[in-house]
């Protein structure tokens, strides 16, 4: 467990290395899937080719699409592509860069599957055993006596050790060795070509567009981070918004009770040390102290939710004397006196403002 935690921490430290980690995991999964998969060639002339080539080509397509699905940046790319221009100019090089980097990462697992399949040779053997040049491997005298159809049927059975029943006509091992050898040659050539392509892209690219490349890398990273920060800020805002909204809802249900309680407690315990603790408990109760009130709160929360409009009010019991340079806040109530007096017996007049949340 510790090992996994360490690995996760290391991978998550950096967005790029996280995506590389996912890419590596998919490549390993692809190799593991191949070894766990039980390859069973049908050994029937009409289906061999379809099965062999299908197994070579379809799982890579699936892994490629899976790579796109698992990559977070795909939705970011789509968003950046589709947004209206607005105040920020759209740069097509950034879109291209993002698309290319997503594609590069998604191509690794398919490549691993194709190389492992070709190196193993079974799918080639299954697909191409009927195309074997029988003169080279078979006993020509016995072959003369067989019809075309019989020959093809026999060749199709070569991949299946248990079914093959004519070892005197053709040597099954020699034929399968030959086809496997061709398959492995294809595999190595494929790997070499892919490596050369990657080499061209990574090592030779700086010759052409280094400055522009730095720019696109920075701005594509910026788009990603900006999106994340925006989501975070929205979440925090929603949390605070919800908190204040609910607080005001509770207060509105029990408005009078609360001010009565506050008045009583402030007269008794204004100078006590545990005033704060009592106050925080009082605050937490938000004026709801009996069953009927609570039932009303819960019922109304479903039947009649409060509007999404926060009232801006000065918190009672806190002094803003130091911060407000003048008593302008109470433009409506008139005069700063109602402000500085903490223990006014009646509700201080409140300044109303409407906050619109555009989240």
């Amino acid at each position: 467990m510790d090992k996994f935690r360490m690995m996760f921490q290391f991978l998550q430290s950096n967005q790029e290395s996280f995506m590389n980690g996912i890419c590596g995991i998919m490549a390993l999964a692809s190799a593991q899937l191949y070894s766990a998969f039980e390859f069973s060639c049908p050994c029937i002339p009409e289906y061999n080719y379809a099965y062999g080539i299908g197994l070579l080509v379809i799982p890579p397509i699936w892994f490629f699409l899976l790579g796109f699905v698992l990559n977070n940046n795909v939705s970011m790319l789509a968003e950046e592509w589709k947004r209206p221009t607005g105040k920020r100019v759209k740069d097509p090089t950034i879109l291209r860069y993002m698309f290319v980097s997503i594609t590069q990462r998604s191509l690794i697992a398919p490549m691993v599957w194709i190389s492992v399949t070709l190196m193993d040779g079974k799918s080639f053997l299954c697909a191409f055993s009927v195309n074997l040049d029988i003169r080279q491997f078979g006993n020509s005298t016995l072959i003369e006596g067989m019809t075309e159809v019989e020959i093809v049927k026999m060749l199709a059975k070569i991949p299946c050790k248990n079914i093959f029943d004519q070892p005197e006509v053709i040597s099954r091992e020699a034929a399968s060795r030959y086809i496997k050898c061709i398959s492995q040659a294809f595999g190595w050539v494929f790997l070499l070509l892919m490596t050369l392509a990657a080499f061209m892209i990574r090592a030779i690219r700086p010759c052409f567009t280094q400055a522009a490349f730095l720019k696109t890398k920075y701005w594509s990273h910026y788009v990603d981070i900006e999106r994340k920060l925006f989501d975070e800020t929205c979440k925090e805002h929603a949390k605070t918004f919800a908190k204040v909204c609910i607080q005001q809802y509770f207060e509105s249900i029990s408005g009078d009770m609360r001010s009565f309680h506050k008045h009583r407690s402030s007269k008794d315990d204004s100078d006590d040390d545990d005033d704060d603790k009592k106050k925080s408990d009082e605050d937490k109760l938000l004026g709801i102290r009996d069953q009927d009130d609570m039932n009303k709160v819960l019922w109304n929360w479903h039947t009649c939710k409060p509007p999404l409009a926060l009232r801006k009010e000065q918190p009672d019991g806190e002094s803003h004397e130091g911060l407000i340079p003048n008593g302008d806040v109470h433009g409506v109530s008139g005069g700063p006196n109602g402000y500085t007096n903490h223990h006014a017996p009646d509700l201080p007049k409140r300044e109303w403002a409407v906050y619109y949340s555009k989240v």
Binding site: K3, C181, T195, F199, P206, A211, L214, K312, V329
Partner: protein, 331 residues
């Protein structure tokens, strides 16, 4: 677990040791790949040599290119080689040093593959069994109807029926394997001698002082590149944060204006945080400024002179008592 952590920490501490670590990992991958690869000699005269030599030389080529690709220094070297001169003069010795270091590291995995191949012997047997003269070996099956070449080509294939229970096949294989291992060990010895000689004799020929300088500046370039990337990332984060906060506040503008509350109230408590963030932005607050910065970083790198920053004038205080004696001094 702790050991692994220590090893990882050691390797990550230094850029050179990261490259060495990657190089060793590639060599280990090469050995693992060889052992898991199912070597399948075709045992047909025309294809034996082609297949065997292909398997001996194509994977080293692949590992060589991979070794260059995964090395971070490749990018640093290419950038240093291709950049315009600008304010910083170019030193070709640095590029040469980085190139030779990169080549040495990239050549390790291919050499390991070739050596393992030779020491194992399968590939040699596949390629050269046809060139063996069968006369010294007894027990050659002569009733198969195959000509000599075809027969010898089948020697690498154990399961072939004509060689069942035959000592001839084993003898020929052993002979060819012996050659293969001899060649493998000699190549290994040759490279070790070359390395040892190089280490011993090189100091006689080159200038140690220049060497130190070259190594220092190539390490510097690597670190500078890394720090630039890190600074870009941090800047990006702060830029984005400011942008988002500004966006939110921009939407809030209307509400604030309706209240006669002074907005300065809000900032009082966050002064310190704002200062720290602004410092990380380094005054770059617009897209055009950032673009210009990145363009200039490549086109015209700044000169290697940070004297101004390092020796910023500082106020020094000296306390003296009424008779002029120094009680305390910053000087």
């Amino acid at each position: 677990m702790d050991r692994l952590k220590l090893v990882l920490q050691y390797f990550q501490s230094n850029s050179e040791s990261i490259s060495n670590g990657i190089c060793i990992v590639l060599a280990l991958i090469s050995v693992k790949l060889y052992t898991s690869f199912d070597f399948n000699c075709p045992c047909i005269p025309q294809y034996n040599k082609l297949y065997a030599l292909g398997v001996m030389f194509v994977p080293p080529l692949i590992f060589f290119f991979l070794g260059i690709l995964v090395n971070r220094h490749t990018g640093v070297m290419m950038e240093e080689w291709l950049r315009p001169i600008g304010k910083r003069s170019k030193n070709p010795a640095i590029v040469k040093y980085m190139f030779s270091a990169m080549m040495q590291r990239a050549l390790l995995a291919p050499m390991v593959w070739i050596l393992v191949t030779l020491l194992d012997g399968k590939i040699f047997i596949c390629a050269f069994s046809m060139s063996v003269d069968p006369k010294p070996f007894s027990g050659m099956p002569n009733n198969t109807g195959l000509d000599l070449l075809k027969l010898m080509a089948k020697v690498p294939c154990k399961e072939d029926m004509i060689f069942r229970n035959s000592t001839f096949r084993k003898a020929v294989s052993r002979y060819v394997r012996c050659y293969s291992q001899a060649i493998g060990w000699s190549i290994l010895l040759f490279f070790i001698l070359l390395g040892a000689l190089g280490r011993l004799i090189k100091p006689c020929f080159d200038d140690h002082a220049t060497n130190l300088q070259t190594r220092y500046w190539s390490n510097y370039l690597d670190i500078e590149q890394k720090l630039f990337d890190e600074t870009c990332v941090l800047h990006c984060r702060d830029f984005a944060r400011k942008c988002v906060v500004q966006f939110f506040e921009g939407m809030r503008e209307d509400a604030v204006l309706r209240l006669p509350l002074s907005p300065e109230v809000r900032y009082r408590g966050e002064e310190d945080m704002v200062d720290e963030e602004e410092e990380r932005l380094h005054g770059i607050t617009k897209q055009e400024q950032m673009d210009q910065l990145l363009q200039t970083w490549f086109q015209c790198k700044p000169e290697l002179d940070v004297t101004r920053m390092a020796y910023r004038p500082r106020v020094c205080v000296t306390w003296e008592d009424h008779s002029g004696q120094t009680l305390y001094s910053d000087v």
